[in-house]
């Protein structure tokens, strides 16, 4: 098959605008899925994806469709919408010539719509704008088409109007994919160059690389070379996602599929690397990717110290299938041995946490997530730290640098005031404002990552009645006037409760942290004093009063079962806690220090 009958495209959009549902309809129309195997969001095959109703990992699928008597091969990549998994979108786009930019007809253009559209342009993808959910009573497809025209400069007449749910307009779109998107360039005579755009690890077969062939072709039982690492492997299986993995003898130029070649570990493959033929290598590797950047870090400690090896084994297993998560051994004077873990964002952290809990029976105590900082010490040395506890002594610090991002917020004009106030409180500097229409506005800010990564989005949603959306992108580290807040529990400093914060708000925040901790740490059989120090000086104290009375007055025969349950629960409550000296600190306490709200 020549490349002129191939179309490679990804589906990109803001969260929940209907990408995976549209993929379902395209699979229906092309007859790729058996009637019996049909289900909603078929490509969201991971358990957590199905439970949460979101896409986390991009999936590729090959379909065939006949149009005007010619059979076309269509390779579709469904992508996640959440900002944490942005890198999955850029990887997918680099493997395609076209992108369906899906926009919810009732929500309009949102922050990730803009971000993903820019990514598509950067990667030279032809964009087909698709206005979805036109069946909704609140749909305003014409208004949304105007928005698209205004923001992206694509004529509103070129927008497809569909309902991925009912299938309305999807046949026209399918025709559009064939007639409007360009085919891959035919470079079949050149030496083989295939881009690894994703991978996953199978327990039995080892690493499965997702590839897009840009030049030449791949055949089974040939020796391939990974151009980045220089390592060579023998291809044992090639195939396509239909959507199950289906072996083929050859992946021709322009095609998308998978390669299995006896590669043991995910770490042996760099996403973005180029596969070439060992005997006739390509001259130049394909442009690769920037590795995804870890935005937040958090320490995990086993509730029970003897579980340390178990926790390590659990993390090792998790990295097998998620190379964007990392863990390194870590020890804290207060909490003992544990691991520092790096995540792409809070959703990513939540997902790893859930996996850990689900697949392992370990009680884990996790510290509040933090961003990384750069510290320049008085001896002129600069280094990266991923935890406030790693901060050197105050007298040795010359400068502290924190990460900044370019923050984009899309909102209605009626909430501008509230959002500008929030941005100001969070030390955001306005870069520009852009009116997208009479009722919609887009702000661009330069913002400290630490201020927006935790609860900013919730606050934004609150202020805008759920309407505003945001997206951010790392720009670099810059010096800031930061100080460390230290907490003493029962007179002992607890490093895992420390916080790095801007000097201007340190005192207020310090006091607030203390109140939160007083609420989160349970009472003990003795008084527990809490103190907070800013820059080494104690600024406030609180006391958690001891239990004075806690005893069941009546316990006779009939109450035994019920009482045992209550006592077990009481004991259970002590489990996800870490003891520091004689004091039990629960999981919530570690998280509570991030809560910057007023009450």
């Amino acid at each position: 098959m020549g490349t002129e009958h191939i179309r490679n495209f990804s589906i990109v959009a803001h969260i929940d605008h209907g990408k995976s549902t549209l993929a379902d309809r395209l699979l229906d129309l092309t007859g790729a899925v058996d009637e019996r195997e049909k289900m909603d969001q078929l490509l969201d095959s991971m358990d957590i994806e199905r439970e949460r109703g979101i896409t986390i990992k991009a999936s590729a699928v090959t379909m065939y469709h006949e149009f005007q008597g010619i059979r076309y091969m269509l390779n579709l990549i469904d992508t996640p919408g959440h900002v944490d998994f942005h890198y999955e979108v850029s990887r997918a786009l680099a493997a395609c010539e076209g992108a369906l930019l899906v926009v919810d007809a009732s929500q309009g253009v949102e922050a990730q719509t803009v971000a993903n559209a820019y990514l598509a342009v950067e990667t030279h993808n032809e964009i087909l704008p698709v206005i979805n959910k036109v069946d909704l009573p609140a749909a305003q497809p014409d208004l949304v088409a105007e928005e698209i025209e205004h923001i992206f400069g694509i004529s509103k007449n070129h927008c497809f109007q569909i309902s991925a749910k009912s299938g309305l307009g999807v046949a026209d779109l399918l025709e559009g994919i064939i007639t409007l998107l360009p085919p891959p360039k035919d470079r079949s005579i050149e030496p083989t160059a295939a881009l690894i755009f994703d991978s996953h690890c199978d327990e039995y077969r080892g690493v499965i690389c997702y590839v897009r062939v840009f030049a030449g072709s791949l055949r089974t039982r040939t020796k391939i070379r990974l151009m980045g690492s220089g390592r060579t492997y023998m291809v044992t299986e090639l195939g396509k996602f239909m959507p199950e993995m289906t072996p083929v003898a050859e992946l021709g130029c322009g095609e998308v599929g998978y390669v299995i070649a006896n590669i043991r570990q995910l770490a042996d493959v760099t996403i973005g690397d180029t596969i070439t033929e060992d005997s006739r290598p390509a001259v130049k590797a394909l442009p690769g990717y920037q590795p995804p950047m870890q935005m937040v870090f958090s320490d995990f400690y086993p509730g029970n110290n003897t579980d340390y090896p178990k926790l390590r084994a659990a993390f090792e297993k998790l990295t097998l299938n998620d190379a964007s998560f990392s863990f390194t051994p870590q020890s804290s004077p207060a909490l003992g041995f544990g691991f520092r873990c790096g995540f792409l964002g809070l959703l990513h952290m939540e997902i790893i946490q859930e996996r850990l809990e689900r697949e392992n029976d370990i009680d884990v105590v996790q510290t509040a997530p933090t961003v990384s900082y750069e510290v320049v010490t008085t001896d002129g040395v600069a280094r990266r730290i991923d935890s406030p506890s790693e901060l050197p002594d105050r007298t040795k610090i010359e400068e502290l640098w924190e990460p900044f991002v370019r923050l984009e917020i899309l909102t209605g004009t009626d909430t501008i005031g509230g959002i500008m106030k929030l941005a100001e409180q969070r030390r955001c500097q306005m870069i520009k404002t852009d009116y997208l229409g009479p009722t919609r506005v887009m702000f661009e800010y330069k913002a400290p990552l630490a201020e927006i990564v935790y609860d900013f989005y919730d606050q934004l949603k609150g202020i805008s009645h759920g309407y505003a959306t945001m997206d951010y992108e790392f720009i670099g580290f810059e010096a800031s006037d930061l100080v460390k807040i230290d907490i003493l529990v029962n007179k002992q400093p607890v490093d895992a409760l420390s916080l790095i914060i801007h000097r201007s708000v340190a005192e207020t925040r310090g006091r607030r942290v203390l109140v939160r901790l007083r609420q989160a740490i349970p009472r003990h059989q003795f008084d527990v004093p809490l103190q907070v120090a800013v820059g080494g000086k104690i600024i406030a104290r609180e006391t958690i009063k001891a239990y004075r009375k806690d005893v069941t007055a009546k316990l006779y025969g009939g109450d035994v079962t019920r009482k045992m349950k209550v006592l077990k629960k009481q004991k259970e409550g002590k489990k996800r806690m870490k003891s520091i000296g004689q004091v039990q600190i629960p999981q919530e306490a570690f998280m509570s220090i991030l809560d910057s709200s007023d009450n």
Binding site: Y547, R548, T552, A553, G557, G558, T561, K568, Q582
Partner: protein
């Protein structure tokens, strides 16, 4: 059905003349039911067991046994005394105001040798708030009448931490109770059970719970005043003249087997914990149709039994008797609970003697904080 091990029999009378505000027991107003079929069912249920040879204590509680028509109550007692021929302690719960000398005389002559009188308080305001229907004078009259007919083992129940009352009010009740020179007193801190009108009053803010500090002070005062009066504390909430501890309740805290009959009654025998249906009509129907009245059945594992035994034993002032525990559960308590014991010994909440582990005085007011560590391994 043949049982060899149960040593105690509990009989639940599911009626009261009116519900007290704090009460969550399975009990219904007497006037809504004909009590006769219910008592017949109780007797039928008891008859299913071979109780004669092993039962050493009987306890008729409720509800209010003394709210029953005399004939029915006496008939029930007569039957139980007849089938259980080796009983050393036979208790009936009596409400002040529901008993007089002739009734008490009959009870005594039928074999009842212990009375448990539900006093709760000697302050009329508190009694009113609790929804009790008797006065302090009724209590004194009942106790004197019981003495006159020959009772030498009388217990009174008191409630502490009643809303709006202070430490002085509670002291008054304690002193009135000790003045009556009874052999046994139980003191319970008021608990707000779901579904009671007391809980509703608390939730709606019409009453305020006594603060924790006062609650504790009342408890400590009870221990002091009662011990002074010669009533030794033998369990978290129970005090008795040495030798007259309630043998029936000691069965529970020793985690030995017992049988309960009547709606909502629980049993613990042959390794099973069962609970009867609480609904009176349902209960009667099941018994009449020859069916099993139990609703829940649990078979605790050996380890769960050991945990239950430890928790129950620790409520006694003598604590866990190490050899008794070993014999009963097959485990060495010091070994099984090594971590918790070590922890709480160092905190000063547990003490180990050569043959027991027990709570220290300092641990009593916060006992659940310690007991919970024994509830599972």
């Amino acid at each position: 059905m043949n049982v060899s091990s149960p040593v105690s029999l509990y009989v639940h009378i599911p009626f009261c003349s009116r519900r007290c505000r704090y009460c969550a027991f399975a009990s219904e107003p007497m006037d809504l039911h004909d009590p006769k079929p219910v008592i017949d069912a109780l007797i039928q249920e008891a008859a299913r067991y071979d109780l004669g040879s092993t039962i050493q204590t009987i306890y008729i509680g409720g509800g209010s046994p003394t709210s029953l028509p005399e004939k029915l109550l006496f008939g029930l007692i007569e039957y139980l005394a007849y089938i259980c021929y080796d009983v050393s302690e036979f208790t009936v719960e009596a409400n002040p105001g529901q008993v007089n000398e002739p009734i008490l005389k009959s009870l005594y002559s039928l074999g009842v040798n212990r009375l448990s009188i539900g006093v709760q308080s000697f302050n009329w305001k508190e009694l009113e708030l609790l929804g009790r229907q008797h006065t302090a004078v009724d209590v004194a009259k009942s106790v004197y009448a019981a003495r006159t007919v020959g009772f030498t083992n009388i217990s009174l129940d008191l409630i502490s931490a009643i809303p709006e009352s202070g430490i002085k009010d509670f002291e008054h009740s304690l002193l009135c109770a000790t003045d009556l020179d009874v052999e046994h007193i139980s003191v319970y801190s008021l608990s707000y059970e779901d579904g009671t009108s007391m809980k509703e009053m608390l939730d709606s803010g019409r009453i305020q719970a006594v603060d924790e500090e006062t609650d504790r002070a009342m408890y400590e005062m009870a221990i002091e005043v009662l011990e002074q009066a010669g009533l030794r504390q033998y369990e978290i909430s129970n005090f008795a003249v040495p030798g007259l501890e309630c043998a029936h309740n000691l069965t529970y805290w020793a985690n030995r087997s017992w049988i309960g009959v009547g709606p909502s009654a629980a049993s613990w025998y042959q390794g099973k914990r069962t609970v009867n249906v609480a609904d009176v009509r349902d209960y009667v129907r099941r018994i009449q149709e020859g069916n099993d009245p139990t609703l829940e059945v649990q078979n605790p594992t050996l380890l769960e039994r050991a945990c239950e035994t430890a928790v129950l034993n620790l409520r006694r002032r003598v604590g866990i008797d190490l050899s008794e525990f070993q014999q009963q559960t097959g485990f060495d308590a010091l070994n099984l609970f090594a971590e918790s014991i070590q922890n709480h010994v160092s905190n000063g909440f547990l003490e180990i003697t050569d043959k027991s582990v027990r709570l220290t005085c300092k641990a009593l007011p916060i006992a659940d904080q310690i007991l919970c560590d024994f509830s599972t391994l």
